[in-house]
Amino acid sequence: MSSVAHLGWFARHEFRLAWREWLAMMTGGRRRRNRAVIGLLIFAAILHLPAYAVVNRYAELRFPLDPSSLIVLTATIFLAWALMLSQAIESVTRVFYARADLDLIMSSPAKLTNIFSIRIAAIALTVSSMALLLSTPFIDVLVYLGGPRWLSGFGVVAAIGLSAAATAIAITALLFRLIGPGRTRLVAQIVSAVIGAGFVIALQVVAVLSYGTLSRFAFLTSETAAHIAPAPDSLIWWPARASLGDLEIMMLLLAASLVLLGVVMAVFAPRFADTVARVAANPAAVTRGRARAFRTGSRQQALRRKEFLLLRRDPWLLSQSLMQMLYLLPPALMLWRSFSGTSTAIVLITPVIVMAAGQLAGGLAWLTISGEDAPDLVATAPLPPSRVTRAKVEVVLLAIAAVFAPLVAALAFASLQQAAVTAIAIIIATASAAAVQLWFRAQAKRSQFRRRQTSSRIATFAEAFCSIGWAATAALALTIPIGALISGILTLLTLAIAWKISPRRA
């Protein structure tokens, strides 16, 4: 086989793997390709409705825009880029650590630089394809309402996808050099989480500090932002101008992204092999624990201690907790501001906190209830299964209490009633998330957490709807009590339906 044919063959192999991985994620590992594709098409078709609701008023926008619109559009594109960068960092880390596959590749007589160049290209293509897939309904609506000039949006999405992938590869490779393979996995996960959420949170923090609102648009559409914004011919506005239909700029952006990706491939592909070899030689850095005496306590205490220890040492939980803390930063700031004056906006804090608690509880409940790495050991231990379950649920409740109690306590200084409502809603949201996880419990390894959503779509939706439902109920309880009653009943109904169709009941 010639080297070009060989490269082509490897490229096909990479794309086939990427496709199957995506398919497995969509179908939960079950062989339902046709159903997944049909489901995706239906989902994409349905997505046109919310896309219409969001973008229909922008269809007639043309350059030059007023500064506020230009800032909002640019910020939106930057946010999309940050999210793609976050996703790409995760993909690159996965490639570094997928040792079984890499061992085979590296032991083959193929030229590694070429192979890793293709792998980098495959990451870029996967990230861009996913972004194109998600942006298509929005661009479709804009093209339908505002004309074909909006088609240039596809070029912009591809450009930011390629540049995000290139940046992700550079960041991850640099992390390897700076902190070594042992720590890169965790740090990359945290960096990815912070990048994904950081921009929105930063905007919210500025909005809270400057305007006393949680709306991220407050700052973007402010006089201050318009005043400090660069001139309309600045390079900063190029992505916005390209998406508004400036073909020349769009082509330039696309070309620049391709050049960036090419440079990254040229610089990092030859080093990829070294990096991977270092990971393979050092699969997990040796982490030493402190030697200490065995502790006394009941069997349930032993279980709870083990769960807490594992949660404390869980890299996913660490990055997620950091995310939760970041998300809670704007409401916490708002709480702090509200002490200096009365503000009705403080009510907004309750749903944010309840929602965050519900989401974190869902993850914790999965890790403790389903993510048991030694199921046989626990099942053969001399204590009834009901006590095992109780101990695990207690861990979720205690962990949530530890994270959210300080916020509720701070809220009590501002409004006792709101603090009480928030605390009750947090407990209910946590209990609901734990209940859903119990009903849809599926034995899995903790390391499979990233794919937990694919094991049961119903559980994922039930968990999300419940946490949104309880957040809404809590907010309504403070403003429109009758609305809270309706929202609460609807959320209970969601839970009841989830229970009714859960495998535990069957």
Partner: protein, 250 residues
């Protein structure tokens, strides 16, 4: 033999999946015996042992462990029993000592006793340099040794092991075998499945051969040879002959 005198008494044990996995199996294992359960892949060995360990509910039959009805009172039965599966299940983020502390806690063992015993067990299995390292970087053999130490730390009277020597190097395998024999000498009962027939031949007091969910032969090595009509044959030859005969009869 009555169930009071047996470490394990299984009567009419049955489990069906798409086909019968265990078919009205009767099995009696004496106290202080080292029993090897052999059989081809899919014969029903693991299913049988998982039912005994309380990990799988049988469709029919009874399981008695040192006189305790394991189906009626599983907690009491589990208190005196340990299970080690072929795939070592331990927690990556715990150190071996933390893992053993957890196991001892689950079995309600006094920490003053379990701490000493955990340390000694891990040292005897050659894990002394790794006592306080998290298990995430351990090889399969090391993980298997940690799992085995976990099974022994609560001093069980019946130890059930499913392919415990898989993935162990020669020295580790010798350590494990030595540890198990020591337990048997102390009065503990060991039931082990293995595909390494030399191990069964050398270590087991009695050997049971299972095929298609039924016990097709049982006895000491000498008894099995006598049943087979040849005194110089190896266990491997006898095993293959037995399984072939059974397959032909089916």
């Amino acid at each position: 033999m009555t169930s009071e005198l047996s470490a394990l008494a299984v009567r009419g044990l049955t489990k069906r999946f798409d086909r019968p996995a265990v078919d009205a199996l009767d099995l009696t294992i004496r106290v202080g015996e080292f029993y090897a359960l052999l059989g081809p892949n899919g014969a029903g060995k693991t299913t049988t042992l998982r039912m005994v360990a309380g990990l799988l509910r049988p469709d029919a039959g009874s399981v008695s462990i040192l006189g305790i009805d394991a189906l009626a009172d599983p907690v009491a039965a589990k208190q005196i029993m340990a299970w080690v599966s072929d795939e070592p299940m331990i927690y990556d983020k715990l150190t071996p000592l933390e893992y053993l502390e957890f196991v001892a806690g689950l079995w309600g063992i006094d920490p003053r006793t379990s701490e000493r015993s955990a340390h000694d067990l891990l040292v005897s299995l050659g894990l002394e340099p790794h006592l306080n390292e998290r298990c995430e970087g351990f090889s399969k053999g090391m993980r298997q040794k940690v799992a085995l130490a976990g099974a022994l730390v609560h001093d069980p009277r019946l130890i059930i092991l499913d392919e415990p020597l898989t993935g162990l190097d020669a020295l580790s395998a010798r350590h494990v075998k030595g540890l198990l024999q020591e337990r048997v000498r102390a009065g503990c009962t060991v039931i082990m499945t293995t595909h390494i027939l030399e191990v069964a031949e050398r270590m087991a007091d009695r050997i049971g051969v299972i095929a298609a969910g039924r016990l097709i032969a049982e006895g000491t090595l000498a008894e099995l040879r006598a049943q087979n009509g040849r005194n110089d044959t190896t266990l491997e030859d006898m095993f293959i002959a037995l399984v072939d005969t059974e397959a032909a009869a089916a």
